[in-house]
């Protein structure tokens, strides 16, 4: 029997159904794996006892033949999702020892389908970052290493702990959130699948807010099929999130037919950016060849406003963040630093509680929303955002999915790119336009650099057409046959 921690979710589901092992055994193997990968710093809080208790309940339901879709499946939860009675930090000092008295809708949906919680994963503070370096709990180390080079690499971010946990075989799957690429970029850099669903597909209720018009929860898994299984459990209308959409949730797994003949695939010329490494271009061409061989029709398309997506994002996201993060005031929960007056207390609390990246973004957001600058920056960015969304609308009159690289490069070393915020922001150049337009996107591990680091391809779908997106991703995954393993793995 293969190691229980190296199974896919689909494989574990079959093994549990056939009584080859119990949910308890599966949970115990993963609790041991959590200990083995501790040097990666992927988790902020481990919940071993809870995992074992949930697994016992799963075994009872399996025995009664009442198994949910994720019965007994051990998952890692980004520490941005509120979990009832389990500390939730957003990787920020300002949340202190916040213990939510309620459960986020997405995690509640997972538990209702029988999933087992292993713990809360590390992330960039308030999900602001592309390297997991901005966490108040220290960086996450990628389980991957360059060939012949022992320097520690980043797992990507902001869902870096979730990506590292899944890649290092310490969780069968994880959930993350994606505001500008925070699921797809760490997925690509860590050699796993990352799916950002359409905005409105999964409820944001109980997710610590960063930029409310962009944030979307999604699954991070080792296969496209596993992402389909998890999304079905996570998604659905929630009256507590007025932006969650009242549409039925399809059986995404059933969409994985392996047949994408006749699918029209768009190749956006604006994604061929200056200075893009030859390996990324080669991977993209390889992806095109795979889809062509699968019977797709390849079409060159134009998304003319692509280059304006990042600057528009770095107005819209900080503006929304400055508004959302106004709630951290030292009064109702989280850190409080005493002061002479109320305002002094606010300023000291927020000065001590926010890290450098969060502070920078809150200040930028405050500036672009302030009197006299609101129209020039914020309204202008919202208009450019409309242009970017129009580009996609026009493209989807000619094509069914769009294929691009997931990132402009592979994982970089811990500490690199920290001096220049804009260099860090460029990591998300291929993922940000998708968030601005609310579309679903998925990164699929598709190849390795010459020095052995994973690279991903991104597929972008029509709004609420995750089925076509997943069907295409499944075919790309099969063609790529990505089987490389990271240097650090649980046994």
């Amino acid at each position: 029997m293969p190691s229980l921690t190296h199974l896919t979710i689909a494989g574990a589901r079959a093994g549990l159904a056939a009584r080859e092992f119990s949910a308890r055994e599966l949970a115990e193997a993963h609790v041991k794996a959590l200990e083995e990968i501790r040097p990666l710093n992927a988790f902020i809080t481990e919940t071993a006892e809870q995992a074992l208790a949930m697994a016992r309940a799963s075994d009872a339901r399996l025995a009664r033949r009442e198994a949910g879709w994720l019965e007994g499946i051990p998952l890692a939860i980004k520490d941005l999702f509120c979990t009832d009675g389990v500390r939730t930090t957003a990787a920020s000092r300002i949340l202190g020892n916040f213990v939510p008295p309620y459960e986020s809708t997405v995690t509640a949906n997972l538990w209702r389908q029988g999933a087992v919680m292993l713990g809360k994963t590390n992330l960039d503070e308030f999900a602001m970052g592309s390297s997991n370096m901005t966490s108040a709990f220290g960086p996450v180390e990628s389980p991957w290493r360059r060939k012949g080079d022992n320097r520690k690499l980043v797992p990507g971010g902001s869902s870096g702990g979730s990506a590292a946990a899944v890649a290092a075989r310490a969780a069968l799957g994880a959930i993350g959130t994606d505001t500008g690429g925070s699921i797809r970029q760490p997925g690509a850099l860590s050699g796993i699948v990352g799916l950002k669903p359409t905005y409105g597909r999964c409820s944001r209720w109980g997710v610590v807010a960063f930029a409310s018009s962009l944030d979307q929860p999604g699954p991070m898994t080792r296969t496209v099929r596993d992402a389909a299984i998890m999304l079905r459990a996570m998604a659905g209308h929630d009256p507590k999130d007025s932006t969650s959409v009242p549409r039925p949730v399809p059986d995404y797994e059933a969409a994985l037919t392996g047949d994408i003949r006749g699918l029209r695939v768009g190749i956006p010329r604006e994604y061929r950016i200056d200075g893009m490494p030859a390996e990324i271009e080669a991977l993209w061409q390889q992806g095109i060849a795979w889809m062509k061989a699968a019977g797709c029709e390849i079409r060159d398309i134009s998304l003319p406003h692509t280059k304006y997506a990042l600057p528009a994002y770095y107005i819209v996201a900080p503006a929304e963040a400055s508004s959302n993060l106004a709630r951290y005031d030292g009064v109702r929960y989280g850190l409080r630093v005493e002061g002479e007056s109320l305002i002094d207390m606010y300023e000291k609390t927020r000065g001590a509680g926010f890290g450098a990246e969060v502070r920078r973004r809150v200040l930028i957001g405050t500036y672009v929303l302030s009197a006299g600058y609101y129209d020039a920056y914020y309204i202008k960015a919202q208009k450019v955002r409309a242009r970017i969304a129009e580009d996609f609308d026009a493209a989807y009159r000619q094509v069914d999915v769009i294929l691009t690289p997931a990132t402009p490069g592979p994982a970089f070393a811990i500490g690199e790119k920290m001096d220049d915020p804009i260099a860090m922001y460029l990591n998300d150049v291929f993922t940000v336009p998708v968030n601005l337009s609310g579309l679903p996107g998925i990164s699929v591990p598709a190849g390795l650099t010459a020095d052995g680091l994973p690279l991903g391809l991104q597929l972008i779908g029509r709004a609420f057409d995750e089925e076509t997106l997943l069907r295409a991703a499944d075919v790309v995954e099969r063609a790529a046959g990505f089987a490389a393993l990271p240097a650090t793995m649980a046994s």
């Binding site: 305002i343 926010f354 202008k380 409309a386």
Partner: protein, 95 residues
């Protein structure tokens, strides 16, 4: 637009974040760099474009105006830094 340290200080005050004097020059440089970078948006023709406020075309749902929750003041106060007799507390604001 380049911001000087006085401008950063003003923004920090608006954002209610204490920033040590010694960090203001560096922060002014970083924020000015980002603002300069985003100004490339001025090159986009947005005449007649409505600013995007929602990516999903939905009408916000309505519900009956009725109480759906309550009676959980202990839960509400459970994470408060300094609660007293069922209330949040703040430093004295009126002399």
């Amino acid at each position: 637009m380049a911001l000087d340290t006085a401008a950063v200080k003003r923004i920090a005050r608006l954002a209610r974040i204490a920033v040590p004097e010694s960090e203001l020059p560096h922060l002014a440089g970083e924020i000015s760099g980002i603002l300069k970078w985003v100004e490339q948006l001025d090159a986009v023709d947005t005449a007649g474009v409505e600013p995007m406020t929602s990516v999903v075309a939905v009408t916000l749902p309505m519900r009956e105006d009725e109480v759906t929750d309550g009676g959980i003041s202990e839960k509400v106060l459970a994470n408060a830094p300094d609660p007293a007799r069922g209330f949040f507390t703040v430093p004295k604001v009126v002399e």
